[in-house]
Symmetry: C2
Subunit: 532 residues, 2 copies
């Protein structure tokens, strides 16, 4: 690959990260927020300072060319990108490193690695771009029945294999990263338009396995609806679902694998529904006197059947934190897009809903308004945000996010109780007030997907415990108030305590049985979703 390799610590590829200006802006916000003069900065170990145990298994000769036990490969596959992952990386705790990293180039090699790892009684951890923020790719096998752990990195399976222009669909390999996937579709005038925040460092297979939430704020929010079929390699063999625009033949086979987080099989390719590249746009930013006023406008728009591509709202503090506002108003970023028709009628009706609820458009009428003003500022901050974590953790700042969904009848009380629970936890844990903000990332006619961010000043030596206690408060509140533990960040290992309460026990029984049929040895991603 001509690209730089992924960083073993932090977000993105080697050479990437916040600019000094971005870092100064970020730390300035925290200094002001918490009235601290400066932060005690701890060092992050360089790659050569990391020691890993000797690999507990050796790939067979036939697979040697696609397997690595190098320090870099193992270290770079030890963690996802969650807050505790970053703390553990800073602490140099690589006890969970996989023994071997495999880079299969074909579906047959995926199956071969699976066969070999299964025979060696190793756990197999499917790995897309490694952007999990919920412990989805950790090889935690110490003290278990697994003799070792093999990480299966799908990055070599990155091709768009076939395009069906008439049906606007493409057959794409599971390891295709966002940018490479879009680059291959662009010459055909097509786009998947699935842009999770992790777009640059996540893959199609990862999106499908985690029910990723993407570009579209309404209607097509999850990757789920774009899946036309799947090919999946399981320890019992390879299966392919029938490629169809719609079907009513029994429970959907695709839906069993969508969201299965690697515990049932490895998604090697999929036929995906695509979009024409949009040429018409309408929208812009809108100021609201309060977050709840903005939320009521969102509800009106989402129930009107207008289906905006973008309809995100930020509470006043969230807007200020990202430079999109001054803290005095909630901001809505509204956008319609189409490859087919002018959107004046859609936009005009949405603005009526906006005004009904006290909203004031920032720059009505400009076609590129989505790139300007508050909307543009927000968009840039959003894309760059994942680079912040590696800068704040060494300074003992605690900042994390969690996202959920709730029906409209419960939303306002829900919002206040979640905030209160997290605020109380931060005060209890850190001894000083923190901050929690909220935005909507996706909307439905029956409720929003609120996305919370929290900020606190932690203490070196206690960061993992402090973070966990705040996370526990958030998870407990989400469960108590009727939300979901995750709207689009998946379950992984970190969300298990709440997922286990959220999903019906009898569904777990059925899922466990299905897994037992496809993966009798329980080798695939043990600990994710259900116990192996």
């Amino acid at each position: 690959m001509a690209q730089a390799r992924l960083k073993y610590f932090g977000w993105g590829r080697e050479g990437e990260g916040y600019t000094p200006e971005e870092e100064a802006f970020l730390l300035g916000i925290y200094r002001e927020k918490f009235a601290v003069a400066d932060f005690e900065e701890r060092p992050v170990p360089g790659l050569d300072a990391i020691t890993l145990r000797a690999p507990r298994l050796t790939p067979p000769a036939a697979l040697a060319a696609i397997c690595s036990t190098d320090l870099y490969d193992r270290a770079a596959h030890t963690f996802g990108k969650s807050y505790p992952d970053t703390v553990k990386g800073m602490l140099g705790d690589y006890t969970g490193a996989p023994d071997v990293v495999a880079y299969p180039r074909t579906e047959a090699e995926v199956a071969a690695v699976m066969d070999w790892a299964g025979g060696a009684q190793a756990a197999l951890i499917p790995f897309g771009g490694g952007s999990s923020v919920c412990g989805g790719i950790e090889a935690k096998v110490d003290g278990t029945r697994y003799k070792a752990a093999v990480t299966l990195d799908l990055r070599e399976l990155g091709r768009v294999v076939e395009i069906d222009r008439a049906s606007r669909a493409a057959n794409i390999e599971g390891g295709a990263y966002g940018p490479a996937l879009e680059a291959q579709l662009k010459p055909h005038g097509l786009t998947l338009r699935h842009f999770p925040q992790s777009f640059d460092y996540s893959t199609l297979g990862g999106w499908i396995a985690t029910r990723s939430g993407g570009h579209f704020a309404s209607l097509y929010t999850h990757i789920d609806d774009f899946v036309e079929n799947l090919r999946v390699v399981t320890p019992q063999g390879t299966l392919e679902t029938r490629r169809l625009p719609g079907s009513g033949a029994g429970p959907s086979p695709d839906r069993m694998f969508i969201g299965s987080e690697g515990i049932l099989g490895v998604i090697t390719s999929a036929w995906m529904r695509l979009q024409d590249r949009p040429t018409f746009r309408a929208g812009g930013a809108i100021r609201f006197p309060s977050f709840f006023a903005a939320a009521r406008a969102v509800r009106a728009i989402s129930q009107a059947g207008l289906y905006p591509a973008n309809c995100r709202i930020l509470d006043p503090q969230e807007a200020a934190n990202t430079g999109a506002g001054d803290g005095s108003a909630a901001i809505m970023v509204l956008g319609f897009e189409s490859a087919d028709h002018d959107l004046a009628a859609w936009h005009a009706r949405a603005l009526e809903c906006v005004r009904d609820h006290g909203g004031t458009p920032e720059s009505p009428g400009e076609a590129d308004a989505h790139l300007k003003g508050a909307a543009g500022l927000w968009r840039n901050a959003f894309i760059r945000m994942p680079y912040a974590r590696e800068r704040i953790v060494p300074r003992a700042i605690i900042n994390d996010t969690f996202e959920t969904a709730i029906t409209w009848d419960k939303f306002e009380v829900f919002h206040d109780r979640i905030k209160a629970a997290v605020e109380a936890a931060i005060l209890r844990v850190t001894g000083r007030p923190g901050q929690i903000t909220c935005r909507f990332t996706h909307i439905y006619p029956d409720g929003p997907a609120p996305y919370f961010s929290f900020h606190a000043i932690g203490r070196h030596g206690a960061l993992l415990d402090q973070w966990q206690e705040i996370k526990n408060a958030a998870g407990d509140a989400l469960m108590a108030e009727g939300g979901t533990i995750t709207h689009h960040h998946a379950v992984g290992r970190d969300h298990r305590p709440w997922y286990d309460r959220q999903r019906p026990e009898l569904f777990a029984t059925a899922l466990r049985a299905a897994k037992g049929a496809l993966d009798p040895a329980g080798m695939l991603n043990p600990g994710v979703l259900i116990d192996p």
Copy 2:
């Protein structure tokens, strides 16, 4: 109930059926189509001419009040409404009658009947409105390990339990029939707007269990997308999924039960997403020079992101058969609806797509055009159509339908090959040419859901074999050409030979394991979807 009871033979309730004028129109079409002077009419046995075996089990005293072994109850629950069902009814073949019919009034009674039937080693057949056209409700237990069959009729669980106006959702019991369900929503200004052809004689639980296709020709075509949560009684206990507008927490529990056709549990209630009652409408009928021209217009509209509520097309012969056309043109019935906004912009752009492909609107600009002309004629014929079967079977006319879905890249060749295969089968089986027509019932950006009807003159004494041979030709062609064996009529027992080829074997393995976990004795609807 104040309503008349369901007919034991034929469609609907006692006292209902085709008028003499409708029957004359129907038979006139067949006389002309096949150049026959008249039909040999066989009698249908009256209820008192039917003999059933003695029930093989007796309900316990605690359930006696909600159980029946009466002739009527058992006869009226023997068959669905398929062509072979109707032939068997005419022949008086009630060997598959259930031993007992139970009418639980509460979820607890559903569980009690399940416990009792399980203890008695009986099969339990969930029954909604009995409108299955694929053998979904047959109690075929002769020669099996089941000692008897109990049909569980959910009709007493018909309430709308709770309404959440803010989220536009309602908690509805599984046995609610279409009209009763809508009548309870109407005072709140809400509607489920799920109008399958069977609307009058099918239930919410049945729609969910079979992935019913409904009112909306685009976007929300299947009931699946309207399910917010489910309550399901299984032999291992009752489960309820979390009510959420959206979630990414593992594989969707709802999606495992949606389409499970009664083999995993009995759906006793669901929170369903609703619509405001539409007040704005635009649309009407459009004439096209050919079916494929109309199909190309459908593709353009469906890929434009306009989401019409109605976008059905009829080929010229289908239009003629239903009185909606004269056989010289294909007809599109196009309709937009909204409770929120005027639809002029939506309709105008769709008409541009229509004209791009040679379509001529019948009556542009009339707001009630969907009730007039070809659109209105089609709509009335469509609703009344199920009453035809009980008139044609005694006259040895063979008429059945099958529906599928296919991606746009394959559609035209697919259409021609399916038609050719069925035409050849009819000629071979009946010795004279038949007729096969096509319409689209639902559309997707990546392909249509074509719905075929076929007509032939059969022979008394051979009807079941003749029908089966034609059905086999249709099913084999659907599989060979890449379609689905069912788009919204479900699998049941009749579609098993093709479903077994369509769904990946490893998915069947997983589904079988899931069923084994929830229904260890295999008592629920044996033979549907998978072998018990």
